[in-house]
Symmetry: C2
Subunit: 298 residues, 2 copies
């Protein structure tokens, strides 16, 4: 995999997002478009959440990874996006692009069905194609905001709030946790109920994701490296904050919601972006950690 | 591509559909699950239609097909499923699995965005990954039934109805029409408004798709080969009815809806299945034509 693959994917997604501003739907209202964890559509009395992710063998899971954890991760990534809005899953659809002669198709879809139901998002449709190349799964999950509550976007952080995380960070890929993480539906719900105004799930690393939330909100996020809970196997914070695939939630709220640790920092007014404060009192641009991560190319 | 690829895909989809009966959703009702053109979910006052399709280069489009027709087909296939329910598109999401170093990503997503808007289903989210293997696009379209009208399922045909098609059949792949077809949104809407009770879009060929509708409805469909409109380049009916990728609508209705030709046959009580009546008065199981098609492996 060339080193710039991850950068290219990001740049393309960003270009697509930029082109998608001002979308108007017929008979529905787009509350949040591309660029948040989920798109949000208001239709009738319902706020629906829509998210889609791909899992490509060799890219998001090592070749030879057993069926069940592959199916689990393919579903869990999208469920995590629903959690990051404070929402509840309703249904899922899945497609599989299977290598020619793939012998595990039935077991794979059985496992996807089981995991989708486990997180309350039954599979209601899908498509299968066979072709050359690696196994690729696409899972779309649609969720809703209970009682039509407003979704917790990335853009709602305000100065004076504190920052919390739903669990420890770092070492997800090396440890295999990227295959076994639990999407934080309960924590996301608790954060919403407590009045959290900004949330994101940590897929690309605490550094780049905190920076994304900060810029979406037009605020400065100051995160104290020593306050961030880390896995024992995670290594130094510079690596841990860039590892990615933690799938913990980062939230900005007036106080600590149930299921979260911290505070790990605070929201300030200032130039938009996230800053890491190290043990010597030095500040580091969080955004750079994300790109370091990309440069190491998994 | 091995000869049995298409059969394998069908068999897998069927196994998945069979496992998906009796699905219950939280806060929504599943009106139609896997196995129809779209899944149908009743949520609040809305009947939503959900469909997803993949386009794999080398499988659904020749390698080297220009960007614009690839993007068009990827979107149009899912729009056609919305048309087959008598519904209206609301939004789309798209994912791309791009070959490493793929130089046309931006133009491709630009074209997908344009075509999605053309059919009134703006792209509100997506994902991009790079990997080995061919270009693969997944497009999900969500639509709705206007005024909460009941969707036109495959299962509603009743004896005494006539059968109509929205356009000529055959030769779609050889002629390139599979890249340029127009999803029959207007015809689908007209059929619904006229009280059509069963409809399907012809993706796998008139033979196998008519048979599918017949079995879903528990009726016998008798189609007169000589009454079916065909493209001048389509060859004999045995081939034309098996070519597939026509993306015309087949409908069962009390009378001819606007935008349809026929009648091309009638709905009868009898053993479930579709039968083709040839020019000599002989009957042929329509189902076989579908499998002949698969055997020729495109």
């Amino acid at each position: 995999m060339p080193e710039d693959t991850h950068k290219t994917e990001r740049a393309l997604l960003h270009a697509i997002e930029a082109r998608s501003r001002g979308i108007r739907l017929d008979g529905a209202e787009l509350i949040a478009g591309p660029g948040d964890d989920c798109a949000v559509v208001q239709i009738g009395n319902e706020s629906l959440l829509i998210t889609v992710d791909q899992l490509v063998e060799g890219r998001h899971a090592e070749p030879g990874t057993p069926i069940d954890p592959i199916a689990r991760k393919a579903v869990a990534r999208s469920i995590s996006d629903i959690a990051a809005m404070g929402g509840e899953p309703i249904w899922a659809t899945a497609t599989g692009l299977l290598p020619e002669g793939y012998p595990h198709a039935d077991a794979l879809f059985d496992a996807m069905k089981r995991w989708a139901e486990h997180w309350n998002a039954p599979l209601i449709g899908g498509d299968i194609a066979a072709g050359p190349g690696p196994l690729a799964l696409t899972v779309t999950v649609v969720g809703r905001m209970p009682s039509n509550a407003p979704p917790v976007l990335r853009s709602g952080a305000t100065p004076g709030q504190s920052i919390y995380t739903s669990g420890p960070i770092g070492g997800s890929l090396a440890s295999g946790r990227h295959l076994t993480f639990e999407p934080r539906l309960d924590a996301g719900r608790a954060a919403r109920e407590l009045g959290a105004t900004a949330m994101i799930d940590l897929s690309d690393g605490l550094g780049i994701d905190a920076d994304r939330l900060a810029r979406a909100s037009g605020v400065r996020l100051l995160i104290e490296a020593e306050s961030v809970p880390m896995h024992p196997d995670a290594g130094p914070w510079r690596h841990a904050f860039a590892d990615g695939e933690d799938y913990e939630l980062l939230v900005c709220a007036p106080e600590r919601p149930s299921g979260f640790s911290g505070p790990i920092g605070r929201v300030e007014s200032g130039p938009p972006g996230a800053v890491i404060l190290d043990e010597h009192g030095n500040e580091h641009a969080a955004e750079r950690l994300g790109w370091d991560h990309a440069d190491r190319s998994r």
